[in-house]
């Protein structure tokens, strides 16, 4: 038998087993529900499925689930000519449901046991709160596994000897054209400063500087890393890449100068404001670059020296 989710719930590595037991269904389910009522014609549900690219629609009254209409039900309806009937007449009412507090390991075994491709998720009040597909579980697990690996890497980094004045360093790799993950490093820097109780105006400036430097790596470099060092009185954000380098650094510091292509511009980036923005918002800023090698940009924001907001 082919497994819906290729994880063994008994003999997988301990880290994975711990994860699937610790992770709750509510952490992996999709919360944005597409539902229909018992009087909704199957034809409408078919259109909803096509429009939203989904394969199952829960039939509800309020927050109570009454049944489910799957793609198979729609195919049957088309085959036997009852596609205009209301959903209530034809829905599968014999439901197997998951609870949002159940561990993901439960959900995995459900997918193994039952032929269904999706399960509705109810909360303690028996209200429908989400749906789970094997894809949701795979995605949720990948995210969780990434987090674990990151924690392990961070632990390894901690064991390296550090500068005595250092309160900690965060380093993130940045990949060229990876607009999906763009902003992740800046978000983490923002979170870290928040947890240190730094004033929100200062955090905002650090977040903006970090994001501009991060986007520069995404848009212009062939990849690099963003690193931030947290000192008791300041944060230092460094962007380092391995190329292609900037031909004329002075020109690059001019607002409006950009080498970005048109699809990057269509996303709202590449307007030549990144470096000038970063310089304006930072207390200290430096950049050095040579063509063919790489660029190193550094922005410092002090917690105690409030700079005028950029207007």
């Amino acid at each position: 038998m082919q497994h819906a989710i290729p994880i063994n719930t008994y003999t997988s590595p301990t880290v994975v087993l711990e994860l699937i037991h610790r992770l709750k269904v509510k952490e992996v389910m999709s919360r944005r529900l597409m539902t229909a009522g018992i009087s909704t014609p199957l034809k409408e549900i078919q259109e909803l499925m096509r429009r939203e690219s989904i394969t199952g629609v829960p039939i509800v009254t309020g927050k109570r689930i009454l049944g489910i209409i799957s793609m198979d039900d729609i195919i049957q309806a088309l085959d036997h000519g009852y596609i205009h009937e209301p959903a209530g007449n034809r829905m599968s009412a014999n439901l197997i449901i998951l609870e949002d507090d159940m561990p993901v390991s439960f959900a995995i075994s459900y997918f193994e046991k039952h032929r269904f491709r999706r399960f509705p998720v109810l909360n303690r009040e028996k209200e429908l709160v989400g749906m789970v597909t094997s894809r949701d579980i795979t995605t949720g697990l990948l995210v969780a596994i990434n987090r674990e690996v990151e924690a392990i890497e961070r632990l390894q980094a901690k064991n390296r000897p550090l500068d005595t004045e250092l309160e900690g360093t965060l380093t993130y790799p940045v990949i060229q054209y990876d607009f999906e993950k763009a902003g992740l490093a800046s978000m983490e820097i923002k979170k870290r400063l928040k947890s240190h109780g730094i004033p929100s105006q200062i955090i905002r400036r650090a977040a903006i500087a970090a994001y501009e430097l991060e986007m520069n790596l995404v848009v212009h470099s062939s990849g690099g890393e963003i690193s931030s060092r947290f000192f008791p009185d300041r944060v230092e954000i460094t962007a380092r890449d391995n190329g292609p380098g900037i031909t004329d650094v002075d020109e690059a510091m001019n607002e409006g100068y950009s080498t970005a292509n048109s699809w990057i511009r269509s996303l709202g980036f590449g307007a030549g404001m990144g470096l000038p923005n970063t310089k304006k918002i930072s207390d200290e800023f430096s950049i050095s670059s040579s063509p063919g090698e790489g660029t190193l940009a550094r922005a410092v924001i002090w917690y105690t020296k409030p700079k005028e907001e950029v207007s």
Binding site: R32, G183, A210, L267, G268, I281, S311
Partner: protein, 111 residues
């Protein structure tokens, strides 16, 4: 101005709404995200046609509370998921940026 002004008074569509009805004192209209990053005020509403995930990242990092997509631009699921994670409300309207900005400036008591 409460963000619910957009749905209740202007009949704009809420694509994702944060639980608490946040207030904004200002708004910023731009489709250039680097411009938004450098110039948009905190605790404000972003009026734009940029309907993608990076818009949420920019709004969140700049400390903005909501995004209004003009010209009936669609918001992909991943944008709404990101908005839900960051607690930033997303609205849409058939109005263009000029009309939307005018109506919102009125709501903010600026005109």
């Amino acid at each position: 101005m409460k963000l619910s002004y957009l749905t209740d008074t202007l009949s704009y569509k809420a694509l994702w709404k944060a639980d608490n009805d946040q207030s904004v004192q200002q708004a910023y209209t731009s489709d250039l995200l680097s411009d938004v990053m450098g110039n948009a005020p905190e605790d404000s509403l972003l009026i734009t046609i940029q309907g993608h995930k990076n818009t949420v990242a920019v709004a969140s990092l700049a400390g903005m509370k909501g995004i209004l997509l003009c010209n009936n631009r669609a918001a992909p699921d991943e944008m709404l998921d990101a908005a839900a994670r960051e607690g930033i409300s997303v609205f849409s309207t058939t109005d263009d940026q000029f009309s939307a900005s005018y109506k919102i400036a009125k709501g903010l008591g600026l005109v």
